[in-house]
Each structure stands twice: as C-alpha cells, then as structure tokens.
C-alpha cells in the first residue's frame, strides 16, 4: 500500500468519525454531551481539511499515485 492510499484511508476513517460525532451531537439528550460532541466534530473538520491539503500535495509530488 502506498503512502497516499494509507493517508486516504485515514481520511475516510476521519470522515466516518465526523459523521458518528455529528449523529451523537444530534441525538444526545444531555446538553453538555451535545456541546462536547459538537466541538469534537468541529475539531475533526479542521483535521480533515489539513489532511486533504496534504493528500493534494502528495498527489502533486507523486502523480503516478494520483486517484489510487
């Protein structure tokens, strides 16, 4: 497995974490839990943006792995 595909796998996991946190933020009954899940969700958004940038760079540096 190439580096790009590994990083892409992590990105997919991150997206699934983001969705899971979002669901919990919506469904939780306790206000503090809602807030915590929401803040955690925002944090994952930042990380996802970072990793996407990194993937773009990797693909530019090693075009042979593009899209894989």
């Amino acid at each position: 497995m190439t580096v790009v595909s590994q990083v892409k796998q992590s990105l997919a996991s991150l997206k699934s974490i983001h969705a899971g946190l979002q669901e919990l933020a919506l469904i939780s009954q306790d206000e503090q839990a809602q807030r915590t899940f929401h803040e955690a969700m925002m944090m994952t958004e930042e990380i996802i943006a970072d990793i996407k940038k990194r993937i773009g760079k990797l693909e530019w540096e090693e075009p042979q792995y593009h899209g894989k």
Binding site: V3, S10, S13, Q32, T36
Partner: protein, 286 residues
C-alpha cells in the same frame, strides 16, 4: 327491606366512602405513617366494619364518627404544612443518637433505647462498628439514619471521575411489540429511525417485547424469543476505537515521513486527535 339487603347497601356505600377517604388522605406509604395516623386508620376501619354489620347503629351516627376520625388527620396535616411549631408538636422531633462519632447516652435514655437496640438498628444499616459512624439520628417515625465517616463511605462515580457525563432517563419505545410514539417524540426520534435501528440488529417490531433508548440514542431490546442472542450496541465503542486508530495512524505517518513540513503537520494533527480523544472518551465509554 330484608336485613341482608340493608347490610349489603350499607357495606357497599361504606366501601365507596372509605375509598374516597383514603384517596383524600394521600399517598404516604404505610411504613411512613406516624403512630397517630396508624391508629386513626385502624379506628376508621373498625368503625366502618361495625357500621356495616351492626344495624342498631344509625347511619348518621356512624358517618359523623367516621368523618371526624378521618378528617382530623387531614386537618392536622394541612396545618402542619404551614406551621413549623405545630408540625414539631404533631409529628415529633428527631433525636440525635450519635454526634461527632460519640454516642449521646442521655438521648438514648430519653427515647428508651438500649445499646443493644441501637447496635441492632446500626447493623440493619450494614454498620457493625460504632466507630465508623459520624452521625446517627432517630427519625420521628422510628427509623435510624446513619452518616458514615468520610473514609468509610462507599465509593461513588464522582469520586473516581471528577466530572462524569450525565445520563438522562431512558425512554421505553416498544412495549409488547407495539411502538410507543410519544416517548419516541420526546427523544426527537421517529418510527423511521426506530425501524432503521431494528433492521440493523435484524429483528422485526412484532418480535420485540421491550425496547428502550438511552440518552445517547442507543437502542437496547428484549425479544419474546429468549434463545436469540442480541449483541449489545457497539456504535459508541466503535467510534472510540476509530478515533484511537486515526490518532495512532498520524503518529505513524509522522515517524515515517522524511519531509519536515509533513512531519510537523502529522504531529500537530496527532496532538489534535489526542485532545479530541480525551474530550469525548468519557462520553463514549460504556
């Protein structure tokens, strides 16, 4: 009018009357009644019993007596709700038995309590060493309540986790195979969500005896068929595991890469994931 008919009419009307009176008297459980209320209850019952059987007692006399006996406690409880002094007089005061870890012998004597009885009451509260007790008080209804010394108190969640996530009451959403819409709506959920969750676990609504949703939206179910094993909800645990995995991945990438810029980026994000993990872990455990 034949005698039996009169007895029947009297009995039925007295039963209805007593039922109404007990409703008015309220829902204090029997064990919480004061001695006075207890005696009143017995007397009212006795009068009612005699009235229904003894035809020589006229109805007016009996009813007057019952009304006085049963309305008096209502009156006293109304007044004692308003007036503290009256309340102390009617319901009695509590008596200190142990204060600052020392037995107050004078108070024991005043309540005619022997040391053996005190020890017995303490044992009922799972206390076998008087030295473990900080404070004990005899309530007006005869119960002994005990405050243990700080180091002997049982461990609570708050002692281990300083700020435990709070849990709201779970809602029962399926009973006897029927979906209850009102509790579902209270949780902000609907039938579609419930159906999706049941499909995930592979069961049909008709087979569910009981289903509850906790405050984190986890569905736990009990089926009619007790042979089928239902897995516990895993979503929260899986989410926690996924967060841990991504965090570990980033640390690994940071070690593998040669480029300085990329290393810094992965390290920063690994730290962010660590912070995130610490933030949500208390909510995702269990």
């Amino acid at each position: 009018m034949p005698v039996w008919l009169e007895v029947a009419i009297r009995s039925i009307s007295i039963i209805i009357g007593l039922f109404i009176i007990t409703r008015i008297l309220g829902k204090k459980p029997l064990s919480k009644l004061s001695f006075f209320e207890y005696i009143v209850g017995i007397t009212v019952g006795d009068i009612a019993g005699t009235m229904s059987m003894d035809l020589s007692i006229s109805l007016e006399e009996g009813i007057t007596s019952i009304l006085i006996w049963s309305l008096f406690p209502v009156l006293t409880s109304r007044i004692s709700l308003r007036n503290k002094k009256f309340r102390d007089f009617v319901e009695g005061n509590s008596t200190l038995f142990i204060k600052n870890g020392k037995i107050l012998e004078e108070n024991l004597k005043r309540e005619k309590y022997t040391v053996d009885e005190l020890l017995e009451q303490l044992r009922k509260k799972d206390v076998f060493r008087v030295a473990d007790v900080e404070f004990a008080v005899l309530e007006p209804n005869g119960d002994l309540n005990v405050l243990l010394k700080r180091e002997k108190q049982p461990l609570t969640v708050g002692d281990v986790f300083p700020n435990p996530p709070s849990e709201k009451e779970p809602q029962t959403v399926i009973m006897d195979g029927m979906i209850l819409d009102e509790p579902l709506a209270t949780m902000g959920l609907n039938r579609g969500w419930l159906k999706q969750q049941l499909d995930k676990q592979g069961v049909a609504v008709e087979n569910v005896f009981l289903a509850q949703v906790d405050s984190y939206g986890q569905l736990t179910i009990d089926l009619y068929d007790d042979k089928i094993q239902i897995p516990e909800p895993q979503e929260k645990k899986l989410l926690l595991a996924a967060i841990k995995k991504v965090q570990a991945d980033f640390e690994l990438f940071a070690l593998q890469t040669e480029a300085k810029e990329a290393k810094a980026l992965y390290e920063a994000n690994a730290k962010k994931m660590q912070a995130l993990l610490q933030k949500v872990a208390p909510f995702l455990k269990n």
